[in-house]
């Protein structure tokens, strides 16, 4: 009896894996049944499908399996589209679905959750993009689409990842006692949900314009201009902020664990001499905005001015 149960379980497992191989084959059920993966499990082939799956009154075995095969891809393509809604709108449903289908061949779904289904889509676009024209190293239209995919995937990750909602963020009491001379060596710690992007196009503005526009309206494609974007999450809402280059350089250093002094140094490198006075005004406003937007959750001080604590010190 025990052996019979085991045999049945083995058999069920084999049929399930066979069915998976058949219905996920990119060229359809018949090719799937003929494929090596399926034949290794059950050597039926397209001519013998009904030895595994019976026909119904109205459908043959191949048609019945095709329902699952088609639904499998239709579902996954829909899921990829849900992650990249603006890219899908820009490309149009048909073209986007083509990309999504190709992508699923290159990067088949292998996780138990669909959360990660789109995690290699940007890589896929980069790998398959047309080669730039010979002698032309400028960015082109394909970069705009890739930028858009990067932005949408980042929004998706920030939405789903850890946010600041349950974190105790930086408060007045944490920094009220800081000696003015000490700010240079203060480290402001950024939350994991803060993402900084450098793009070839002003893609954040393009994204907003497409989302805000009527479905039927064609939004002008932007000219290629390097742009900087910060993405974060507060109160469970993903926030997007356009950054200037100096802001981006500043935040990048802070995010990497650098002290305010180091961040300011990086920032100054991209500011012209005539703008330095203005920088003095701007920097205060920037830090004020970022703090109130919950970009920092902790301030610590290390070594530089005699508070040599290996793990940093909370104020």
């Amino acid at each position: 009896m025990k052996e019979q149960v085991q045999e049945s379980a083995d058999s069920l497992d084999r049929v399930q894996r066979w069915m998976q191989a058949v219905i996920t084959h990119p060229e359809g059920v018949l090719s799937g049944a003929d494929g090596e993966a399926a034949r290794e499990l059950i050597d039926a082939g397209r001519g013998n499908l009904e030895s595994v799956v019976t026909r119904s009154r109205s459908l043959e075995a191949a048609d019945r399996l095709a329902i699952y095969a088609n639904a499998y891809y239709a579902r996954l393509i829909e899921c990829v589209g849900d992650v990249f809604p603006v890219l899908k709108r820009v490309l149009g449903d048909e073209v986007f679905d083509s990309f999504a289908f190709d992508y699923l061949q290159a990067y088949p779904s292998k996780r138990y959750t669909l959360n990660y289904l789109g995690d290699s889509f940007v890589d896929f676009l980069r790998e398959t993009r047309p080669d730039p024209e010979e002698g032309n190293d400028e960015v082109d239209w394909a970069d705009l689409l890739i930028d858009l995919a990067i932005l949408e995937w980042t929004i998706y990750e920030v939405f789903d990842g850890p946010g600041t909602e349950k974190e105790r963020m930086l408060e007045t009491g944490d920094v009220a006692g800081v000696d003015p001379a000490a700010w240079m060596s203060i480290h402001l710690h950024t939350p994991a949900c803060l993402q900084l992007l450098q793009m070839s196009y002003p893609v954040n503005q393009f994204y907003t314009a497409v989302r805000a526009s009527d479905e039927e309206l064609v939004v002008d494609y932007p000219d290629a201009v390097t742009s900087y974007v910060a993405i974060s999450r507060r109160d469970y809402i993903v926030r997007r902020y356009d950054l200037t280059r100096p802001q981006y350089e500043l935040l990048k250093v802070l995010q990497a664990g650098g002290a305010i002094g180091q961040a300011l140094e990086a920032c100054m490198e991209v500011v012209s001499d005539e703008d330095l006075d203005q920088l003095l005004v701007d920097v205060q406003q920037w830090f004020s905005n970022w703090t109130s937007e919950r970009c920092f959750f902790q301030a610590t001080q290390k070594g530089e001015i005699g508070m040599d604590k290996q793990d940093g010190k909370d104020f």
Partner: protein
């Protein structure tokens, strides 16, 4: 004044400027932190509920055409993915028996598309068409 002295003055003014910048940054942090404290005092109880929007999923499938309070703010469109996550076990299977034809038809549409670089070619066409409609000139396509 020799070169060394000039360099020393330059270093000094640079250090001074840096110090001013750092103090300005610190002042900004203090201002921002005070703003956070004020905002916390004024915060609606709804916003302090950890289930707002994301947890409760009120912004996912609800609201006409998915356009609700959150949709314009960038977060909730991405939330639509959860309609797949939550229902993925039954989504493709429900209705297959009674509407098998439709389902098969839809799937075949997806599967007949060209692969690889051909997709980029059709993308380029779509891109050119959209650019033309918008009155934008685009350069020649890469080979």
């Amino acid at each position: 004044m020799n070169e060394k002295q000039e360099s020393s003055i330059h270093d000094q003014s640079r250090r001074d400027f840096f110090n001013k910048l750092a103090v300005a940054a610190g002042g900004g942090v203090l201002l921002g932190a005070a703003g956070v404290a004020r905002a916390a005092d004024e915060k609606s109880p709804l916003l302090t509920d950890p289930h707002t929007c994301k947890g409760l999923n009120t912004c996912k499938g609800k609201g006409a055409g998915g356009k609700n309070d959150c949709a314009g703010q960038g977060a909730c469109a991405t939330a639509e993915k959860h309609s797949c996550h939550g229902h993925n076990a039954c989504k493709g299977q429900g209705g297959c028996g009674s509407s098998a034809g439709q389902n098969a038809c839809k799937g075949k549409g997806e599967c007949s598309v060209p692969l690889g670089k051909k997709t980029w070619k059709s993308t380029r066409k779509a891109f050119e068409a959209a650019a033309k409609k918008a009155g934008i000139k685009v350069g020649p396509a890469p080979k």
